[in-house]
Amino acid sequence: MKPGEFRFVNHSVPREDGLAKVTGRAVFTSDIRLEGMAYAKLLRSPFAHARILSIDTAEALRQPGVIAVLSGSDLHGIDPYYGHAVKDHPLLAIGKVRFLGEPVAAIVAEDERSAYEALESVRVDYEELPAVLDVDSALAEGAPLVHEIAYRTGGFRGFDDPASTQPDNICQKIHLDWGDAAAAFSGAAHTVEGEFFFPMAYAYAMEPYVAIADYNDDGLTVYSSAQHPFIVRNDLAKIFGLALNRVRLIIPFVGGGYGSKSYTKIEPLTAVCSWKVRRPVKLQLSVEEAMLTTRNDDARVRIRMAADREGRFLGLEATIHLNTGAYAENSPLVARRAANRVIGPYRIPNAKVDCYAVYTNTIPASSFRGFGATQVTFPRESQIDELAERLGRDPVELRRKNLAARGETIHPGLRPLDADLPGDLSMLVEALAERPLPKGHGRAVGCSASDAGSDPVSSAVVQVYGDGSVSVVMGTTEMGQGSHTVVRQIAAEEMGAVIENVRVVSCDTAITPFDRSTGASRSTTTMGRAVLEACRDAISQLRNMAADVLKTNPENLVLEGGGIAFQGRHWRWQDVLREFFGLPDCSIIGRAYLRKAGDLAMLPLFWEIGCTGVEVSVDTETGKIHLDRLVTVGDVGLAIHPAMAEGQDLGAATMGLGLGLSEELVYEGQQLVNGNLLDYRVPRFSDLPLQVDLLLAQNQDGTGPYGAKGGGEGSLNPVPACLANALYSATGARVRRLPLTPERVWRALRGRTPELPNSFGSSGVRPQEKNSGR
């Protein structure tokens, strides 16, 4: 079907979660309380790297309201390590701490305040160890080891093997190579080379991490703000030695994720508290604690590009260092994606890429919207503008000359490009150039291509009832991206149902069938398609039932608007069901699963495209950049819900605005110095661009339902590069380090050296004498 032929799909219908969210009825995990529930609070390490000599919990146990105190030495009888990629993460520090802020002890009490107040009664003796706080000191000869042993992979499918079997601080190493990059550079007419820095950032999901665990004789039930319940379930099953069906994850509405709630976070720690006290236990982190839980991988990228006299790209070489922090989390996959995504949507005949994820004694890094692409798009797109200047060409024209066409292979071994980048760029430029550039303003465009979608394993159940109502039962979590609305549209479209009569049941792993994860822009494509196929499975059953009722062959029945036609009469599905079963309230189940097979055998499932443009003004007195215009092109195949697709693009671009202009977690020595929302500056109302154009390219060229493919990250990826290039276009100042804070821009405008980085190049901190602390 084409746009214009759908009843619900491709229309901006009301959100499935809308009424609940505007009336305050929407339930998030933090809103849940269970009968007999106790509360946990965490004692965190005051050192970046230290041996734990002893923990004395006796006094804390005597405090009013305290039920139990747990430390790393109390975890007998379970496997206290988890990690889907590398099993390196103890749920409470065992033997030593690896970053300042790491949980060392948990107190369970009758109420939150009692738990909190008892924290100061726990005595911990530490022996401080030399710390590696940046990539260079972690990689230095003889550097202290963050992990003394080389770990095996966490047993989760789809990950590369770890870098080596020898312990060092390299968590993951990725190498890509095609063509002959060295030869391409030696014969090139033009080359550019540079070093770029991408900041350490915090996703700030407004709902901080929260979980409620209830461990009892029936197994373990966990309510959580997790994006990926099934992966958390797997980790918990292994920790406690439980069967998968004894671990139940229930995910209410999630208050923002942006990747930061993907994979396992505080669930093992919460579960172990409940396992210890055999009561439901709630662990609610504050924003300050959430900042100490997960961040993105900050990056240093050394990159060079070569072009011939006509501007054709000849080669790209990049060395990417990711500061992965104390635990691997998902960074091995971020490293793989960063390496793949530095290429962009361009024809690059010769490439050589090395990417290293490096352990340091800092907050663990993991998934963050963009997922490696933001880190590498900034250097590449900056450098394309530098090349354009070297060649005396317009940056848009240089991109147009090198953009791959639909069907071209941009990355050997991966799916050919499934998007029309030249078309997207034309849409973008047409919108951006509709008015002349005011004097002193700067304008820039940027493109990116991400191998998106993750593993295509998703399953769905659709229940069709005798009264015409329909339920979609699925494991995709709703964190604002709108998946509940999208599958409702698809089910209503397929079943010919009234959209209000389609209910979405999600997510309870005891009920909802398996879904690999909610992230990587995959749900519309994978779960959307699983729901579509489950509906068609139900329809096929209903048609056979109708044939049975009408005593004819199924082939004689014509599918028609929510039912079938036979001999001039229309039978709605509910009529068929009632006739077949002889009951008014019966139902049947349609089901479908996707896996890496057929047209989904080749990864990625789709290329997620970024194609954005900006216009900025710069206050040269203060160095402050203001985003005046933003244009995004969402190349989404088909927007199942146009308003939400546009909303994803604007939200993503706004996150890019934050990373580009203001967001950075700043370390001074071992200490995070801006670990709160007062000092960590996210975009506000007053940063809103004066004009926004959100364009959609709908060529129905995706592997998802009706040709849809994912969005929601693409429009973030080029934005920081656009801002840096627009700053250059406005002022002639080239800044290769984000964020473009007023101070950094001000210094650049005056030709001063920008300040030193915080994660790269500064020396490690020497240990003080043996320290005691709580």
Binding site: S12, P14, R15, D17, G18, L19, A20, K21, V22, T23, G24, R25, A26, V27, F28, S30, D31, A203, Y204, A205, M206, E207, P208, F253, V254, G255, G256, G257, Y258, S286, V287, E288, M479, G480, Q481, G482, A643, M644, G647, L650, G651, A653, T654, M655, N676, L677, L678, V682, P683, R684, F685, S686, D687, L688, P689, V692
Partner: protein, 181 residues
């Protein structure tokens, strides 16, 4: 300590500790979980409640300070059968995604529009700068507030005097009614 105030139009007397914040009392004692807590340092606005029609950050506002005042939360301004125009406008403009900031956002917008029924865009941006949203990029919220201003003016023109809480405020009386009554 025992403290009386008017909560969503109904007089209440509550017993709580002097150090409890309004957010703790509303969420834990009154089970009004529409009010969300995020930054806990008065930056994000997720915990916005109205006290005598003015927005406050309930995460740091001591509950006893509400004594004798009128406290309004998202639960007090409309429900799915009878949405407040701002709620309706947020739905129509897709002015939320995850929804965690939404109750605070709607209450701040209510305070704005009651103080200034026809704000310019610059006035909306300035007033709302204390409410963070990480999902939407703000423009849909700006659009919703514009639309809500129109709806509220329309409603005012069609059915004076206004119903509900605002009606009793307009009447200047000491009693407060909501449509729940």
């Amino acid at each position: 300590m025992k403290v009386s105030f008017v909560l969503n139009g109904k007089p209440v007397e509550l017993d709580f500790e002097p150090q409890e914040t309004l957010a703790e009392v509303l969420r834990n004692r009154c089970h009004l979980t529409g009010l969300k807590v995020s930054c806990e340092v008065q930056v994000c606005g997720a915990c916005t409640a109205l006290v005598d029609s003015l927005p406050v950050s309930a995460c740091t506002y001591l509950a006893y300070e509400a004594r004798g005042r009128r406290v309004t939360t998202i639960e007090g301004i409309g429900d799915s059968e009878r949405l407040h125009p701002i709620q309706k406008a947020f739905l129509d403009e897709f002015a939320f995604q995850c929804g965690f900031c939404t109750p605070g956002m709607i209450l701040a917008a209510k305070a704005l529009l009651e103080e200034n029924p026809e704000p310019t865009d610059a006035e909306v941006v300035s007033y709302m700068d204390g409410n963070l949203c990480r999902c939407t990029g703000y423009r849909p919220i700006l659009n919703a507030i514009r639309r809500a201003a129109g709806l509220m003016r329309q409603q005012e023109a069609q059915s004076p005097p206004r119903e509900g809480e605002t009606a009793s405020e307009a009447s200047g009386g000491g009693r407060f009614r909501t449509h729940h009554e």
